[in-house]
Symmetry: D2
């Protein structure tokens, strides 16, 4: 059965900055949908902040296996009740969550992980992504390193200790970032990946695309066994007698 992927995109920069639309005609979400189109094991759906119910009515959210999230200038507009519903989907239903780039400061990222998501940032520049975890499925087929031109997103990056650190990024200006990190929360898997600045072309990079494909497959819900629901259980009888 196909993995149901929903790409949530703020879709504001494209409306105010012509340059962003030149790089990503139709918007960044359209770019992601397009490069996922050769994945026969995925059904991809794109939604935006300005859609009804901010793009994620229950009918969409509850039919999503993996949610990509790109937001930046309008983080504060995302309603707290939506954040709560996204968090509950991850915690309780095992929906995968893939915050991309500036989503490090989005409300769902902060609430789901328990973190400020603070980091250092600066000018767009040459960046090199290093593969630190070649055995991990998210790194499958990814070379030792590849080059990007990206916005500086760098340490100190205030995240909980990652379950696995998959990629580390070098920047021309002298900085580094734990730039590709996995986490688990409740029944859900989370992968943060830093490339994706609206004025850069990273989402056209074939390795970035491959990593996102790998991550979607990795983050798809695991088949949960009996009794593993995320709830408080009052146990009235002994397991053994």
């Amino acid at each position: 059965m196909a993995i149901k992927v929903t790409v949530w995109h703020e879709f504001r920069h494209e409306k105010t900055h012509e340059r962003v639309l030149e790089i990503y005609p139709g918007g960044m979400h359209a770019c992601i949908r397009d490069f996922l189109s050769d994945c026969e094991d995925m059904e991809v759906h794109i939604v935006t902040l300005d859609d009804p119910d901010q793009g994620l009515p229950d009918s969409v959210l509850n039919d999503t296996d993996v949610l990509l999230w790109w937001g930046h200038m309008a983080h504060s507009e995302v309603k707290d009740e939506l954040v709560e519903r996204v968090k509950n989907r991850v915690y309780n239903d095992g929906m995968g969550f893939l915050p991309i780039h500036s989503a490090h400061h989005s409300k769902p990222f902060r609430a789901i992980l328990g973190t400020t998501g603070n980091l250092a940032w600066g000018r767009d520049q040459k960046a090199i992504v290093w593969n630190l975890n070649p055995t991990h499925p998210i790194a499958a087929g990814i070379p030792q390193h590849f080059e990007l031109f990206e916005e500086l997103y760098a340490e100190p990056f205030f995240i909980p200790k990652p379950d696995d650190l998959i990629f580390g990024t070098w920047y021309e200006d002298g900085n580094i970032l734990r730039g590709g990190c996995t986490f688990t929360r409740g029944l859900g898997k989370i992968f943060y990946f830093h490339p994706g600045h609206e004025f850069c072309e990273s989402l056209h990079n074939p390795y970035v695309q491959q990593i996102i494909k790998n991550a979607i497959r990795w983050a798809a819900p695991t088949k949960i066994g009996e009794g593993m629901e995320n709830k408080c259980i009052h146990q009235t009888e002994a397991i053994v007698r």
Copy 2:
């Protein structure tokens, strides 16, 4: 300089159940203060939910190095603004946070870690705490195992992957628990420890007391180096030139 320890206690069960006061005369917080009294490196202060500002006005909270938290029946009464202030103290100032027993479901535990804190629970019974991490300072001097009579708190326990798993607990009824776990969030260190049911005597157990002493010393704020504040930094110049 002494570690400033604040013991926050809900202090409600003692008022409604005589048996609790028999086990813990003066309240559970008084018991903790008393067994910490031989620690010359600590200054201990006790506060309760029904104190002004729910016991933690800024004058107290901001003068606290390590905060112990015991709550149960009144989790929902704790004000969201207090939760926010506690979280910020941990994330931004490195205050240590030691949630004890039923604090697994407290608002600060959930918000700071990013979790539901759900677990299985049941009748009070024989429990054996196993030392799984003998090299960790929280386990210093703690034997291979020791016995308690405790409320069943058991897996599935929905917590983020612990940084370190220090203790695992066996229960007579056939259950186990990852019962002593460390986490870091922002600049703060967190240790969850499951013993401390109000109707049990665990806080009188010398090993439980030693573990709490060890944990306070471990969770005391690390001296943070220059530039490690938990904030977003706009870097205007290259680190190297």
Copy 3:
């Protein structure tokens, strides 16, 4: 392409203890081969210590994707050069390694992980395996807990900190064990799982069988990207210019 699975079995107890052969007609390795026979994505091969080249000439070892290892009374007979070859296959070629039960004390387990593998052990008894990591592919479909009758293998278990702790086991006698643990070494993935005493019937348990199937799929080599060989690289030119 099918995962090439080699089951290495000491196959000595079956020759000296009739009871073992009653439980596992044809040997424990035959049992494993048989329950894997419904996995169309696997090609399973069984070998034993008393085969030529101790069952693992290069022609077999180098054609193996995942190696299961069961040894006990004859650990010391395994030649150091074989241990070295197994280790190199894991480290350098990414062969998965699944040490089962008493393989915790086998030479390859110790050399590959860097550990003594010491633990506490005792009489066969009721044991309950708890699922501690429901999102992990090795736990897919496995219920909250299931019961076994097994040899006591318990803490303190001297292993490096697991990458992931998947299962924890409760024992009637009051003990617990981190009983299902993952590790990575070089390009290889390792999963230790404790059930499988020769006088118990655990390998007939459907959950144990499912876990071994899951683990084989998880431990199969990841497709390694360019430049990720496990070797020392002398870099003569700068990555960036």
Copy 4:
């Protein structure tokens, strides 16, 4: 009681390369001893490969709480029986082990951790060490970043997943390294730190010195509780009755 620190140094480069002696008069081990001399909680002892018993007769090794190890050109001369004794001290007695720089390829590093220790290496160059773990005692007081001029030691670095990643290093040539990592093995704590090339001046850097001091204090043996010896225990009676 003072921490007994033994600095094991290969001490060969100083004899063949005048430049090394200019940077480190008396040898690199003398430099380490000297900058540790203001630590009143340490007793420091220096030994070298060419001393009797390769510097580590049992009388010295068994009286050592924390062992620093610097080796490079003569890794292969270190006797296997010494490697075994060092490993056993770490595993069984909790001796701390601090491999510095080229010790990533030393026999004890490989045997203790279970790894090849392979990495990429190249010319001496500008390097920036980033503090990735401000709450860890090894990072206490260490700023966000500091600059070195060091030999390139870079990813891919084939080490087991670190317990904690404390420092990450940026290099002018476009590389990065997980350059300061902790591990535990048996009862012992290990910290690998990459600076210390014989032709560079890193050991004179005050932050490098502070990190080594912090690491010695962190790696000193924890007081082990009763029953936590690293051995196989045959348990003849139930823990509970």
